[in-house]
Symmetry: none
Subunit: 530 residues, 2 copies
């Protein structure tokens, strides 16, 4: 089998309906690029009619040049009693100027009479008209039959009439939605098969996970002939979420040879899922299939023994095939070659069998155990390696760094005062600064003290600040990881710090950011490293 399956990601629309999910416009633009790189066919980017913030995004996203994906806007059929051209929602969708329009209409008679409060006949007209309107405007039109499966259980004939109306309007695809997420694999299979048999256009599937079966239900639909799968890359979405594409794509592609995304992209799946989770601030459960941290982590002694003899004994697919890694939780034998590759990027001459290489691997494991993660924060890793090898002379010594915070004084909101003492080759500087919070005060004081020695720091400023609580169940005593992104106008670099103390973690990332800038400036001026 090698049937092509079009992957349709709705992280930015249905995913944004998940509890606690809220994307900024810049988050959304980054997610579009990640999904496009991953090779999905469609990115559903928002509902311009219901969310004004989405309009700003649509105007900015048109500047991106996408390699694989087509952008889609989502909206409902026209209202009863208006023409499509008069309808405000329809017009908002048009203004979004996406090549693809996803029109959703009611597929369940109960919803038509109870929620829309219109007639069954008028609902069919609404579907047919709205689809036809967007076709006339030159859009690719996908029809989402909302509650199709609940609808078919109640009134199968009517549910199929709604599909027929969309097909008559010229829809390019008909998507069967399990909106309430409570359907059974068998039902999905049978009804999808009927739809595939009755219509010439591609049939799609859109499952929610309220009974924990969204992935399997989508698989059943594909087995019944569906050729378009809707979901979200990390499974986020209203209530219990949408079908998790990071489970669905490799399952279809590796197990049944369907073609969902380009083969070489599958190896980026884990990275893409983790980046999207980061932007959504919804950390992936470590047990998430294929892409979770524990997905290929072996803990039981018998399991580890088996995997050491042959990985197929306890792994359903090869971890690398989805860009993930095998881990042995009891005996840390993992990842050595990856780490060595990183170290040799910094010190190309280092022998991989040398004691130094071994020490750095141990050091790295120790730091990771403490919560450090150097992926995306390579400057901090480079500083770690250089410090360890003694090939690094710090540009300054931070003798003292104190923060005083008075939460009850509200003098213009600047309640934080940082004082810093630095020592540069025997010369000391004391500085103090107020700030919007303690980290800001610290940043200002530190750069104020150092600028007299290193005027090149005048161009450096911080452009991003992120905080992740690592073991939230420890509550306020939890370990936190802080990332700081900096720029000098030309280069951009990210550093990381970890501590149970958020100020200390921030201080470490800040210090690394400044050290790294100085290292790169001096290095360029005087000599290449090693």
């Amino acid at each position: 089998m090698n049937r092509e399956i079009a992957v349709f990601d709705s992280t930015l629309r249905d995913g944004a309906q998940g509890e606690s999910v809220s994307f900024s416009v810049s988050d959304k633009l980054k997610i579009v690029e990640i999904l496009d790189d991953l090779g999905v066919a469609y990115i559903e980017a928002g509902n311009p009619g219901s969310n004004p913030k989405d309009m700003e995004f649509f105007s900015r996203v048109s500047g991106l040049r996408l390699k694989n994906a087509r952008l889609a806007a989502f909206g409902s059929t026209r209202r009863s009693g208006k023409t499509a051209a008069e309808d405000e929602n329809v017009r908002s969708m048009l203004r979004a100027e996406t090549p693809v329009a996803v029109i959703f209409g009611k597929g369940w008679d109960f919803h038509v009479t109870k929620v829309l409060k219109t007639t069954l006949e008028e609902n069919l007209n609404m579907i047919r008209d709205t689809v036809a309107f967007f076709k006339k405007e030159g859009r690719e039109v996908i029809f989402d039959a909302e509650h199709f499966f609940d609808g078919a259980r109640a009134n199968e004939e009517y549910a199929f009439q709604t599909l027929r109306a969309a097909a008559e309007g010229g829809a390019d695809g008909l998507v069967l939605c399990d909106t309430n997420g409570g359907s059974y694999p068998f039902e999905i299979f049978e009804l999808t098969k009927k739809a595939v048999g009755r219509f010439a256009v591609p049939i799609g599937i859109h499952c929610h996970n309220d009974d924990g079966m969204a992935v399997a239900n989508s698989v059943m639909a594909v087995e019944a002939g569906a050729s378009h799968i809707q979901g979200t890359l990390t499974g986020i979405g209203e209530r219990c979420g949408n079908a998790n594409l990071s489970s669905l794509i490799p399952t279809l592609q590796l197990k049944r040879s369907y073609s969902c995304i380009p083969g070489e992209c599958l190896r980026r799946l884990t990275e893409a899922a983790r980046l999207v989770a980061e932007l959504a601030n919804m950390p992936l459960p470590s047990s998430m299939p294929y892409v979770g941290l524990s997905a290929f982590a072996h803990k039981g002694g018998m399991h580890i023994d088996g995997v050491l003899k042959d990985t197929r004994t306890f792994e359903h697919v090869e971890p690398k095939s989805v860009g993930n890694e095998r881990r042995f939780l009891m005996s840390e034998v993992s990842g050595r070659s990856t780490v060595l590759a990183k170290i040799r990027k910094i010190c190309p001459d280092l022998d991989k069998e040398s004691p130094e290489a071994k020490e750095i691997i141990d050091l790295l494991k120790d730091m990771e155990h403490k919560g450090y993660q150097y992926e995306g924060a390579e400057p901090s890793f480079e500083l770690l390696v250089r410090r360890h090898l003694g090939k690094y002379k710090p540009f300054f010594d931070l003798e003292k760094s104190t923060i005083i915070e008075d939460l009850t004084s509200r003098n213009g909101g600047r309640s934080s005062l940082a004082t810093i003492v630095v020592n540069v080759e025997g010369e000391r500087r004391i500085s103090a600064a107020e700030g919007d919070g303690p980290v800001n005060a610290l940043d200002c004081a530190l750069r104020r003290a150092l600028e007299t020695f290193y005027p090149e720091l005048g161009r450096v400023h911080l452009t991003d600040y992120k905080v992740r609580v690592l073991n939230p169940e420890e509550a306020t005593a939890a370990r936190v990881r802080v990332w700081i992104e900096s720029t000098d106008g030309t280069d951009v670099w990210t550093t990381v710090g970890v501590s149970t103390d958020i100020l200390e973690a921030s201080g470490r990332a800040l210090t690394d950011a400044i050290e790294y800038k100085l290292l790169k400036t001096i290095e360029r001026k005087f000599k290449p490293f090693i």
Copy 2:
């Protein structure tokens, strides 16, 4: 349909193989009681041969009087070349003195030759002998055919021979295991159907979730005639976990009328899952089907509108049927009616057309604009509304709150010192505390000062701490939103604080958490509010 399905929970055995899961003996005893109360038929409590800590537990658990469940110990077949009676693992299992023995044996020829390094014939003898041995000792014996589905794909005849050997040994049940968690719903259905047709004893199913389909695969097995389902109540387990019983039980019971647990117990499902998650220190993802905090949480305006008209529009089952709750989330995509519904939950007498209602809606918009997000942090919203309506007298006045942080002093890592002055009805208390970071110090100092006035705060502790940077491009001057989750052992509540100063944001969420607890305690003691 009303077929009885025996529920077999393996939280304490397979669940304990999940990454970061580790139970104390007292945790295990509590979990046995929770599962027994929930009405499961079997509790697999450990592997006495591989884990010496389990022996202590088995000797203590025999003191519990269980109402519904039978306890099971888990272990492998005898080794090749020994009799069952000589085998150390077998003897450990016997010493556990459980009424049920679960014997696992290899169902995949590849494992027999590659891992056990014995002959296919000897593996069959090992299965037959070991089962017969425990039957002779008077135990109920369940045979787990490890890797049955992978085995059947490779050598179907041999996989069935392993089942046959167990049946000949006298097994009371034969369980088909998808140990690597990579099987397909159709395969599971077909092979289970064959097994049901060939053996007179009950057939069970044990699925892992490596392809995200463990629940659906278990459902398929039941539809094919299996009458025994193995999993873990919250889905924890090796790698991606086991079939999640908190999804599987209500799906089978509510949708297909199978009888899994006593009807009245189903309403305790959410509570039981949350307690077990607490003991496992593995917080439930909020999107978990049926039992998650968001499982019946509605965010989109159209969804809320539909549910207000008829809950069936966007709910696949009634939340109460599994002991969960419907929630309407507040966000930019939800409408005025949601907010009004929330306000009226707090003040039932408030006229929705009154100036106060309008003021609160404006206030809410203003707070959201500042970065507050009350969805999931309703206690902070309730306090906001009460404060605004003047219907709230604070329980304490925070006169002074200062933090001193010395980032360069590393005295045992406790670099933060908080001092607090509170005033409760004219009486002042000063307290100070060190902490793992400034927020922890603040939390300790505040509760130390207040506990003399309000001893009920002694039971309160924080269980989750989350930080979201709202405008990361402002870097260290960015606005941050802090969520704090608290519990007093019975209730769980979440509060929110926002500021450019992370300490101030944390302080606000902390103060709200304490105020809310006091409000609820006093309210219960003296009078209903309004």
